[in-house]
Symmetry: C2
Subunit: 145 residues, 2 copies
DNA sequence: ATATAGTATACTTAAATAGTATAGATTAAT
DNA sequence: ATTAATCTATACTATTTAAGTATACTATAT
């Protein structure tokens, strides 16, 4: 039960885009510097995000990436589900046939409940929430100086 | 974000032991048959469980494994934490030094909250709860026939 | 004694993860 | 038109982790 690097980086990437929403395309080279993630890896992560329609791109010089929708409308559940490549803690949830005891399994019930709880939480958190927190944290930091 | 087979099997194994609590040592060959998990793999999983003091063993003929404590006193949080080998969704929670932005990271906060929520839930569920559910499910199944 | 069970350690295989490399397609700016 | 900045597509590689097996013990009830 560990979050993949893809999800972690993807989350930071998307919050970065949220912080620059409505400011034109953001270049990967900038995000790479700010987030300390290689451009090449960011490109990898952006493929599914683009396919899912969460980001749009502008090609050519001065091009870059932008959120496809307002930050209020993109939840962490969408990002995590997409980048983890599944919405379950346990494979038998999606494919009951892989385990002969799926129908009687007590522990499967528990993993299902847990998964549901996790995604309920993630659905309640939007990119706008995280961007807001990031802005506040940054202000606090400046005041401290 | 996926539960390891070790945790899944470990959970089933411990519920199996809970269902036979106070009935003397349970042999791996029996558990292996009931749960359809190889004896060798069960042995692997039992090493940490024994080290942690959650099970005790009786060696020799008629030997086997038993819960060290009543099922009411063993929670799923203990089992999952032990068998996953960590109590965090994200390595920077345990080792902030691996990421330079640990102190400003907004997403880290989120992963911490999520982890806390998950383990709160797992702490609320004991082996007794699951054994009880298993007994009920089994009765229902019999009535259906 | 002996067979039954757990113990310890090490090995093997397969899959997933995390990333890099290379070559190409678009397009704004000149 | 050319160029340089950017994204795109595909494929490769190395590392780690997961999952499971094998071999050789040790303890003990009968």
């Amino acid at each position: 039960m560990k979050l993949s690097t893809r999800s972690r980086y993807g989350a930071r990437l998307m919050v970065d885009l949220a912080l620059h929403y409505n400011q034109g395309p953001v270049q990967l080279s900038e995000i790479s510097k700010r987030q300390d993630i290689s451009v090449k890896y960011l490109e990898q992560i952006l493929i599914p995000l683009k396919k899912a329609g969460y980001v749009v791109t502008v090609r050519g010089p001065k091009g870059g990436y932008m959120l496809a929708d307002p930050p209020e409308e993109i939840t962490m559940a969408q990002i995590v589900e997409l980048l983890e490549g599944r919405r379950n803690l346990v494979a038998c949830m999606a494919n009951p046939e892989i385990c002969s005891r799926s129908d009687v399994c007590i522990t499967k019930n528990l993993w299902e409940e847990l998964t549901e709880m996790i995604y309920e939480k993630l659905e309640s958190i939007t990119l706008a929430d995280l961007a807001e927190k990031a802005r506040r944290k940054d202000e606090n930091r400046k005041e401290m100086e």
